[in-house]
Point group: D2
Chain length 137, copies 4
């Protein structure tokens, strides 16, 4: 399937006293890329929230492969690998030009923003994911 | 006036590649102390939010005096210095046993959680701030 | 094996506009518990860093089971399940009194703080983990 | 004097359960703009750190004027207003197209990365700030 990429710069805020990027900050980077991928499809999260749709991370399998450092220019990828009724499975990586820093298998679930219960993915998003994928591949 | 104190430990998450606490993290520590001061008075923020009351920071004058470091055991103070109709003025400090790290003059305003407009401080809070202060001093 | 527990309170800083704890913040909570577990054994991370020893997260398998919310009083657990030459495997959970919020399988590796290459766990830590475990179980 | 501007997008990570940007996150945005201003001058912070030069925030006077929200496209400005031997004074704002969200008076000091003591601004930076300013105005 096709791939979406998003650039992220490492700032002081992202690093810790070990001199490298704080391990949990990579999850912020992964989410920025997922948000921008959704925006490219024509959805923004504030609009979805108004429609009572919230995407939440259900599970992640993460490998921190190499440490990123201050000022690194990172590329964060989004690869959809499965579209289910109420969830999406994707692979994401974070890399510099020379080296892969992190790999993650991610499951995103769709929940009702009010009662926090699982709900089906909006049909409009399902269609766009499929169409966008056909166009790009 | 009387003073409220709250302990905060410095973790890796709070530091940056300069080897010291990231400057903006101290504002998180200041807010934890304000939240615990409110809780001691008998209010928690989730309850206030349900009642449509949101406390927001209106302005701060902050002096970073000495850098705090990984593993430091900090004490964060809250000193109310003025209670107005829709806002509170306080002084806050952050220190270790030996040294003051930060001083802040803080104005907190009360807003309506829905429309984000200023609103009067709930009477119950006003009374408790006054009473609590008389008891302690 | 025996279990270490550490309390964490949820503040505004930990939540997001979805009204729940931001998914990556739980990883901060997991690390606070690991740090306090090490401190209880007699090690603090700033001392280890001076000795050129850095613990880094190598991989995590995380399940976000239920959302935590503002003001929740959470308990974060650390359960060592394997001690290897240059890494530790543990299970960690985050729960309130009534409900488990998150489960994580975590591998922590030991690296040289200067060149960021893998190194053996310090013997002193290995011994203390084993002894501490025998005493508690 | 001339002005430097840097775009920042608001993500979930930046918001809190009040539905708006968490107050301390704006300080991260201010620093990203200062870092990119330095980079435009030809300096990056990791290089400066290798040369033992660390820029730290000495004091800030911040007014949070209007709340920013999820998905907002913000512009963060940097305006140098005074260059001293060991510090810089600047004004910074954060705004959307329609509205100013925040104003800050900021003093940045230069310290020795090893002993954390004040040091003179590197001559190369002083010259570039002056030249850059003349070219732009």
């Amino acid at each position: 399937m096709s791939e979406f990429n998003w650039p992220v710069r490492v700032y002081f805020e992202d690093t810790d006293a070990g001199g490298i990027v704080y391990h949990a900050r990579y999850l912020y980077f992964l989410e920025r890329a997922r948000t921008e991928w959704l925006r490219e499809l024509g959805f923004n999260q504030s609009l979805l929230k108004q429609q009572n749709v919230l995407f939440v991370v259900r599970d992640m399998n993460i490998k921190w492969q190499k440490p990123a450092e201050l000022d690194d220019a990172l590329t964060v990828s989004v690869n959809i690998i499965a579209v289910k009724k109420a969830s999406l499975k994707m692979q994401q990586t974070i890399q510099t030009e020379n080296e892969q820093k992190l790999h993650a298998d991610v499951t995103i679930a769709c929940i009702d923003a009010t009662n926090k219960k699982p709900m089906a993915l909006p049909q409009a998003i399902l269609s766009l994911i499929t169409i966008s994928d056909e166009i790009r591949s």
